[in-house]
Amino acid sequence: MSEVSVTKNDGGPAPTGDPLVVLDNVNKHFGALHVLQDIDLTIHRGEVVVVIGPSGSGKSTLCRTINRLETVDTGSITIDGRPLPQEGRELARLRADVGMVFQSFNLFAHKTVLENVMLGQLKVRRKDRNTAAEKARELLDRVGVGTQADKYPAQLSGGQQQRVAIARALAMDPKVMLFDEPTSALDPEMINEVLDVMQQLARDGMTMVVVTHEMGFARSAANRVVFMADGRIIEQAEPNQFFTNPRSDRAKDFLSKILHH
């Protein structure tokens, strides 16, 4: 656990925006397993929400339902006021506005780093090559991998790959970024370089949903911590309050296990 002690939102914007992502009474089953139970969650524009909880609590599934990589059984999800459409062209358009960063990076293995960041701009946003390449290089510089632009993903370290993946998502100018355990597959010494990029994004006012086990990040970058267990949201609170004085027994139990060892 990397404890980064930074004062939250160094001059960054307060989460006062209008609702951007709204989950209303969402339920989902995997066979007999009720992975999401009556989930109500509203994420405001500019807000950074960190979702934590024990394994199997449904937090990754929750994250993946927001861009419909997982479908839900009942309930509704709206993004910027529009309900998630069925699979098809309209859903593709909506996904372009929702950036996603995966635990296992999922960079396109047969394309160079630069091509990875350009692809969506060319094929989805229909930009011309020069504009796309320029933006891609700018983003790669911003996440600190500008010198790796012409390499293939397999030639990069995990931390570098994940930063490229963040650049790839940012290239679409997303309204919200979803992070599904972005540092869980990384060697310990590479975790901070990814968290630093995410910290910067949070400070720049990006709306973020972050599923993570990095409590340091939750403390320093989150506006709100959502604690999940057994498919339910047990508790939501401002991070300081959550970590120093959790209300639910389930959260107390969870924190006592992860913070004292």
Binding site: N67, L69, E87, R89, A92, R93, L94, R95, A96, D97, V98, G99, M100, F102, S104, N106, L107, F108, A109, H110, L119, G120, K123, V124, Y152, A154, A165, R168, A169, A171, M172
Partner: protein
């Protein structure tokens, strides 16, 4: 032994005929095979059902039966007056497309799911995801089975000879009907087939090597 030299033009015509019908059917099989493989992994159920039906029907029917249908049933309904070459090409091409489809589908399933998820998460459509991300990465795994399928196609084209398509095997039969020693005739025929099948293996070995470097 003279039969080999005396009938050289016939052998050459047969060789070119085999080459032509193999190449034409291979193109049909490849195009349809990729398309049907796309259907089989599509999120749209009717397309998936169509793909499954296509493969089940064509893969499990004896090739000779398909030729019989192509030559005696199909011209009654459509393609009236089509040449034996076109009908033979269709029968061979469609038959082989079912095998190509399955080889490609097996290649698609070797590409990690995360690749397609990442592609969809940046807003690519299903078709774009398949064309730009999944198929290019599947190509390398698909090459060895494809090579076998095309070699099998070359040899299957002999069936077309029995349906008055100008090709190697048809000429071999013609000459042996005239009373020439069959063993000698087969020497040229075998050599000609080897020429084509070795060329196919060579091309695929080259492709494999090139793809190996590109990654």
């Amino acid at each position: 032994m003279n039969v080999l030299l005396d009938y050289l033009p016939e052998f050459r015509a047969g060789f070119l005929g085999t080459l032509a019908i193999t190449a034409a059917s291979a193109v049909i099989a490849l195009v349809l095979g990729v398309l049907i493989a796309g259907f089989r992994v599509s999120p749209i159920p009717p397309l998936r059902a169509f793909g499954t039906a296509w493969v089940t029907l064509l893969r499990n029917t004896p090739l000779t039966l398909l030729f019989l249908i192509a030559f005696f049933v199909v011209p009654k309904i459509l393609f009236q007056g089509a040449s034996p070459f076109v009908l033979g090409m269709l029968a061979l091409g469609l038959y082989t497309s079912s095998f190509v489809c399955e080889a490609i589908r097996s290649g698609i399933s070797t590409v990690p799911v995360g690749q397609a998820e990442a592609a969809r998460s940046i807003g690519l459509s299903f078709t774009q995801t398949l064309r730009l991300i999944v198929l290019p990465q599947a190509t390398r795994t698909v090459l060895p089975p494809l090579s076998s399928i095309f070699i099998a196609l070359t040899k299957n084209s002999a069936v077309a000879g029995a349906f008055s398509v100008t090709e190697l095997f048809g000429y071999a039969k013609l000459l042996s009907d005239k009373g020439y020693a069959i063993a000698v005739i087969f020497l040229w025929v075998a050599l000609a087939y080897l020429l084509i099948t070795f060329a196919i293996s060579g091309v695929f070995r080259l492709l494999e090597r090139r793809m190996g470097v590109a990654r």
